[in-house]
Amino acid sequence: MPFWLELIVSVFLLVGGVFLLVGSIGLARLPDIYTRLHAPTKATTLGLAGLLIASMLLFSWQNSTLSIHELLIALFLFITAPVSANMIAKTALHHRLPALERTQNQDLAAAARERLTPDAPKKKGKK
């Protein structure tokens, strides 16, 4: 295997590994369920993407054909991760899990829980 390829693969692997680790660190460290949601849903997906690219490169070289079926895993993850996050967020809201005290707009969480529209003065999104 040429050194450059090994290097690239290594870099992707390391990046992937780091992001996976960071995601899990976030999961362990972050202070409330809502913040914890962020870490794994994206850091880990990106981390996995790193590994997948490394794998693609390596196997493409090894088998001398384009090996891109790993993309499928990435595709799946990118499609499903937001839904998982959404569902977990819903459970957190449903269980009225306390957000970090300094979380802004906690009243919105209450509205979100009941799937209502936010109060009239707070319609900040309106153009």
């Binding site: 799946f76 499903t80 937001p82 839904v83 959404n86 569902m87 819903k90 269980h95 799937r115």
Partner: protein, 933 residues
Amino acid sequence: MSEYLFWIPLLTLLGTFVPLLTEKLNRNLCALLTSIAPALALLLVLQSAEAVFHSESLRQTMGWIPVMGLELAFRLDGLSLLFSILIIGIGLLVILYARYYLSEQESIGRFYAYLILFMTAMLGIVLSNNLIQLWMFWELTSVSSFLLISFWGHKSEARKGARMALTVTGAGGLALLAGLLLIGDIVGSYNLDLVLGSGDLLREHSLYPVVLALVLLGAFTKSAQFPFHFWLPHAMAAPTPVSAYLHSATMVKAGIFLLVRFFPVLSGTELWFLTVSLTGLTTLLLGAYIALFKHDLKGLLAYSTISHLGLITLLLGMDSPLATVAAIFHIINHAIFKASLFMATGIIDHESGTRDMRQLNGLWKYMPYTATLAMVAAASMAGVPLLNGFLSKEMFFTETLYQGSLGSLSWMIPVLATLGAVFSVAYSTRFIHDVFFNGEPINLPKTPHEPPRYMKVPVEILVALCLLVGMMPNFIVGDLLYFASAAALQAEVPSYSLSIWHGFNFPLMMSFLAMLGGLTLYYNRHVLFRFQSQFPDMDAKLVFEALIQRLVRHAQRTVELFENHSLQRYSYLMLFFATILMAGPLLDLSATAGLRPELPIDAISITGAILLTVGALVTVIWHHQRMAALLALSIVGLIVSLIFARYSAPDLALTQLSVEVVTVILLMLALFFLPQKTPEDSSPRRIIRDLALSSMIGGVIGTICYALLTRPLSTISDYFLLHSKTGGGGTNVVNVILVDFRGFDTLGEITVLGIAALGIFKLISRMRLYMPVSDETGRLWANDRHPLLLSVISQSLLPLALLVSVYIFLRGHNMPGGGFIAGLITSVAIIQQYIAHGVEWVKPRMKLNYQWLIGSGILIATLTGLGSWLFDRPFLTSWFDHFHLPILGEFELASAMLFDLGVYLTVIGATLLILANLGKLTTVHRATDMEQE
């Protein structure tokens, strides 16, 4: 020369059906037709008499079950002849008698059938020339007598009496069986001829005492010897014809017959003498004594029967040839007078409505003819001269005088015998005086009068016999007695004389004493009655029933002690047993590790092991919070599939993963209907106990696993690796094993899955549910039934998932995958639609009949296997070939694919039948029922 022997019992056996078939006809006709078979049998017996009287024993043998030494072997010698004549003769009289005894409402057909069946059994016993056959008929008498005694089954005493008789005689029968089998084992044959010739062999065998005890148990229970006598009086609950038959000539005489039959081989020892004679003596005295106090006529006769049986037993126990002759003679005499007495009692009962001697008085006035008959018979029972009872009693007294086996105590036997005779005279006198004289009847239900003409005929015949035998013994029974004795002794018959006058001698004095004593005793009976009345009246029936009740209660308590319907105990016992079975041999295993080199440990493995361990432990620790436990369990499942992946089993990893998810979904579906928390209901002791056992098992299993892993092994698998491609057409050996080498396992496996689904559907249907309206904290459920994102994304993933499952399916034969995994992926994808959209949305849009899927899946797999029959190969022989098509290139077709399709369909059908229907449960009545506990 004697091919007709088996016709004797066969005729009566066939005759059993006659009354059942002719019951609908007129009762007289029924009785008449019923008599035909026994009458013919009697003719056959009498026809053989001549041969027997020429010292021949007739024999007939037919093969039956050689493996168990059972043959149909009949033997007619003097003893059998005597008994056969008694059995059939008295039986015929009873048939006639019963015709008038039973009321119009009672099923005479059933009665006759039981009676003839019983007769058959008795004939079978006395004609047997094979021990097992003998036992067969022996037990048949117990059974058929049960039917007879319990003929009036709606009466409690009849039921209890019958059960008691059956239990006691049945138990004795089992002992007898053991004894006979031992005899057969010792002698090496069950043939009576051979056995009778092996007396010395038996007597000298170390097991002789056991054999003797067992055989005597059989004989004594049957012939109501003390202490097994108690059943007999209660068998009087039977209709009187039954008593007349069972307690004179047949049932109880079977025991006596057995003693006589085995006399040549078992007697002649100290043991025989002591047990048999002492038992007989006790029974004789006890029966005679109690008989006096019975107010019930049949009760009196019952104890009298016991007493006379004791007398015969005593004679046999004396172990002398002459005593045996006397015993046989008394068998005849007792049968005759006792049968007639019972019949007379029946007439009295029938015509006056009671048998209580306190009510019955002075019947002489109402039924003088019957009274005369009864009085003659009773006199015979008392041993009055010129009647048959006198003769055998004289012989009995003689024999008591001439034996000396009790040494210096031998004088007691004649004394006690005389004492017995005193009581015998006393109760006979009571029978005569208390019933026919002694004033006027008291409160009789009916006004007595003479019975119908033909009801008296049997009694007349029997009483006539009493007189005839009593006066002309030689003429009437001389030959019969002689040859019966010869057969019984299997040796020279000693000389004896059957005359009515032997001069003034000691026995005559004993008779005289007995007469005198008896009359005196009867005259002063009130003193004795008063004396007796201070003892509590022990009802054997009650005692026996109480005993059985106690036995039952103890049994119930013991059973409940162990069988307490606690699954925890049953599981514990099984697992404990398993631990013992495994740990025992393990202690012998000197070195746990074998010689196989071990793989090195790495960080990932340690991580996996820790995750797995923690997951498993946490599942246990959290099992009270079920949802959390489920999460912990999921970790374990995940790690297990990673382990499979690690150790070169990709197929297993895939399968484990997909099964895991379906299982978790299923558990959640179920959890909804189950309590969310497990209460703490194990005591600390139980927890420690369970922990101890489970860690023992875990340790043992782990050790075995390690021991296996470290030992080299050569298996048959090289063959599979070698032939997978060439013979099975696939490179994924595991898959080829599944669909080809061991495709039959897989066929079974999908059948299991299909059956499970059917069973689950069966369980779900008509289930009453408790549906919680809130979670365990009391929080109402969220109102968002179908979250938007989930719905949209799940929907768009479905085609993709299906594509993946096709991919997994198609590559299965050559790469990890296959029908099972593909089926699970498809199912999970569809389940995801149910989760995201709900049943109401999915159901109309997907009209798959899951049941049909299961059926067709199994069918396809089976038919694929059957396809090989077309090529004359065994079931499931696979076929594959490579084809080449232009443009598309080369591809492979294999029957295994079709088989796998069957697997695929079954899996989908089964999984969805389970999950979708489970989901459906709630759609209709969501949040209606509340928790109920």
